[in-house]
Symmetry: D2
Subunit: 159 residues, 4 copies
């Protein structure tokens, strides 16, 4: 049985219209390549990305902190984690690559879990992190939505 590639899109639930447009385009690109989109299932980046994926005929999975009624309207399969925001680990660990757009503190936890697990993280205007004045280079920077999804698909294929 063939399994689809799974790409996570992470980002805050309160975002600018520009970040929303970017997330929607990322969702469309993921669906066009036949990949499944997984996210935290709520608003903001998560909703815009799901909207884009659904418009392009894709499958969307939202791993929710609490109740299934929290899911944004573009989540096809709501997964009720039962573990609150500890579900942030599940969002990224369920994916073969992660695209981070903008960023809240929850996004920071997701980036941490992904990098800890060796799952590639592609950044679009997201957190920059540094230790003792030395920038961490493990977040791969992308130029635009298409570039981010190209990089995610390529890196996902290696896992």
């Amino acid at each position: 049985m063939e399994k689809p590639v799974i790409i996570a899109v992470i980002g805050g639930s309160e975002i600018s219209p520009q970040a929303a447009a970017l997330a929607e385009e990322v969702g469309q690109e993921i669906a066009r390549r036949g990949a499944v989109l997984v996210c935290g299932g709520l608003g903001g980046v998560m909703e815009a990305a799901c909207k884009g994926a659904v418009e392009a005929g894709g499958l969307t999975i939202g791993i929710l902190p609490g109740d299934r009624r929290e899911a944004n309207p573009y989540v096809k399969i709501p997964i009720v984690s039962g573990v609150g925001y500890a579900r942030n680990a599940a969002v990224v660990k369920s994916a073969q690559a992660v695209i981070a757009i903008d960023g809240s503190y929850g996004t920071l936890t997701e980036i941490g879990y992904a990098l800890q697990s060796g799952i590639p993280v592609i950044g679009l205007g997201t957190w920059e992190i540094a230790l003792e004045g030395k920038a961490d280079k493990n977040i791969i920077r992308a130029k635009n939505a298409k570039d981010a999804v190209d990089k995610a698909m390529e890196l996902a294929g290696k896992r």
Copy 2:
């Protein structure tokens, strides 16, 4: 956007050939009704139910305790919970109805979480529970695979 009904199938990872045949039939019946099957993603009841669902063209989701490589071969979408066997709560809370076949102690935790959350549990040869000598009647007993899925679909529709 229309959302599919989601039915969980729970049961132990070490089971008799009879329980496996029953689980496979339950998986087939779920897929024939257009519902999505969610389970814990491992062997035994979980694998047999996924096999049945895939044979009948259905979608299978496995919420795994650890790594995606643990998934049985019939899991289409592996969700990596990141929380070990605390994922038992997620398996049942993600469903609108639960079918319990046979039973290990993990199945007992899943029955407890489902009943605590008010999610209907249909039993096929699974745990019986009693408090102070009084049998708990909240596990709905089914006669066979078809009867179990009929009951699950009917109760799921009410949620």
Copy 3:
């Protein structure tokens, strides 16, 4: 460094005065033996057991589903699990033996996790469980509070 024995007390948050009196006595007996009491930190059995332990000068730890303000007034060290009722696994896995008093569906999940992990469960008027008409004998029945704590301390010492 010597480590104290840790005993979990589990049971529902809505209980009869008799169950509360029993839980309080269990808490006292645990503290008298110098053991630490761990529980889910809320009301009912959890509160009564913590009250008893504190009266006898013992240390009480409550592993909470949500916020630290949820803790009953007799919890000395509140642990905020961050994972909701998935914390039920933590309550029993943190103990070397478990005493179950009365029972809700949450208690059933805790019994399931303890038995799955090989942690001894001593029952005082709690759930009875059976599979295919055969009663499960792994819950050790106690006559009274003192007997329950005697059995818990003896079994905890073997782990």
Copy 4:
């Protein structure tokens, strides 16, 4: 019943001798002030901080990802989270203030969870984070171990 202040110490499990010395001093300072030290229970920063706290007669709690045998020898009360590295949320949410020393990707998730929950984070040579070129100022920088614990105790008192 008076409850002790709880301070979390977070940081990587593989660290330099300098970071270990700093963590040990932080643990001593926490214990001298009568506060309880909570941490992830493993090696590196966690072990050095527990060692310091135990030397100064303090109470140490380790919230472990897996088994109680993983605990470093200076953990007095091992809490078995049952949820793997999703326990990172529990480590910081159980504290009234957090001291971050050095840093691994796990530490980054803990910083994210603390800031998301409004729990003060005091940094000693730990992660710096920035969004769109703008440094996040919510991690409070300390000069040395004593300064870090002074700041942690003061901020913890306000919660």
